[in-house]
Amino acid sequence: MGAAITAGCSRIADSTPGAKALAAAEDWHRKAQRLFAARTALAPEYDRSAISPSFRGNGSLTVDSDAYRMALAQGFADWRLEVRGLVRHPLSLSMDNIRRLPQRTQVTRHDCVEGWSAIGEWTGPQLGTILEGAELLPEAKYIVFRCADRLRGAPYYESVDLIDAYHPQTIIAHRLNGEPLPERNGAPLRVRIERQLGYKHAKYLTTIEAVASLEDIGRGEGGYWEDRGYQWYAGV
């Protein structure tokens, strides 16, 4: 009986209207959430005493390259964050540049799509500050995060729309619990998008790119996991 239902569902999922309905549902959730609930509302922030004793690493736990190992050994003195794409002023920010921008510190909960959660204190500039410095062109609709790590041979990347990019809690974090970001948590830079699931919070960040469409990136679904069947809108 269970097997029959499973087989039936596979047949529906493989059909064109079935696949369309499945994709549409994610869109309904995004629209409903944005209709009934201001997207600028903040995810809960906790007291420092709520911080988990350790912060689980997941997905890539390091970047498997000599360049990264050398950068890690040198404390990421030469690491740079590129800001490019549909911007008036492309930027190449050093770690020092990033540390000198106005900082936001937030104790938030990380919710992995698998179901587990961890609480940590993150520090870094708001992504909005960086985007204002680069000045988005009017055609820009999405912000793409490109990463140094590869997962199962493919480069990791993620993307969000401008509503999430400018959310006050969307920061480019370089510290976790008051220390420089540990290797397994994405050293030296990762994104925090507190109203999205964990796979959106790209680690080992190298490039922020403003684009008009996600079609030509990766397999065109907007992120490493999205290309493998996960929902682009991870607010649900």
């Binding site: 239902i5 499973t6 549902a25 995810a43 709520a50 799509v113 179901g115 507190e194 649900v236």
Partner: protein
């Protein structure tokens, strides 16, 4: 016996489809991290209050482990499920099905009459006097419609990061996000238990007539 209203029958079958797909895709999602915690956070199986077994492919949608596809099914069916329940409640209040058939009266809560009903059920004697449902049925249907099904929606929204800022009172009230996730899981299995008993009692009490009545409404 009073006929089942069209709205009741429509919702009954729609809800069955939704709950089955939600449950089976939920088991696939459970396989991603089959450990349950209390409180706001939890990621280490050693801290889990319960670690559940891996559910085999014949129990899950899709039939192989795929968190992305299972979540697709789960969030698709959440819509007809939640809107269907809202519709059912409006219909039940409007057509007085709730007042007439499900709401219990004080006299039914007497220990002696409850004991008599339980005894009759254990003898598989399903004849009851006036009214459509006996006390145990009213209690079960009331708990499912009024508590478990709404709880599935509330806890489902509570573990969705997009809704969280607007439901923080609810999530804190239930003890934090991982507690909400645990309650979602427990309520799902409570519904499964109801489903199993419900089907068993239909089979024991004239399945042909019962199923026909839930399709056509039955005779007045």
């Amino acid at each position: 016996m009073k006929r089942h209203a069209f709205s009741t029958r429509l919702w009954h079958w729609l809800n069955l489809v939704c709950v089955v797909v939600l449950f089976m895709s939920g088991l696939n999602i459970s396989n991603a991290h089959p450990h349950l915690y209390w409180g706001d956070w939890g990621f280490d199986p050693r801290d889990a209050w319960l670690s559940v077994p891996r559910f085999p492919g014949w129990m899950t949608i899709p039939g192989h482990y795929s968190l992305g596809a299972a979540r697709d099914w789960h969030i698709l069916m959440a819509w007809p499920f939640a809107l269907g329940l809202l519709f059912m409640w409006i219909a039940m209040l409007a057509n007085r099905h709730f007042r007439r058939d499900i709401a219990t009266s004080r006299s039914e809560w007497r220990w002696r009459s409850i004991r008599a009903e339980v005894a009759a059920h254990l003898r598989l004697d399903f004849h009851h006097g006036r009214g459509k449902y006996n006390f145990l049925q009213k209690l079960a249907y009331g708990l499912v419609l009024g508590v478990l099904l709404p709880l599935m929606i509330a806890t489902g929204m509570g573990i969705s990061p997009g809704w969280e800022p607007h439901l923080s009172w609810l999530i804190e009230g239930m003890g934090g996000r991982q507690s909400v996730r645990s309650i979602h899981f427990l309520a799902a299995w409570a519904l499964f238990a109801f489903f199993a008993i419900h089907v068993a009692l239909v089979l024991l009490s004239g399945p042909f007539r019962q199923i026909r009545n839930m399709i056509t409404g039955g005779r007045e």
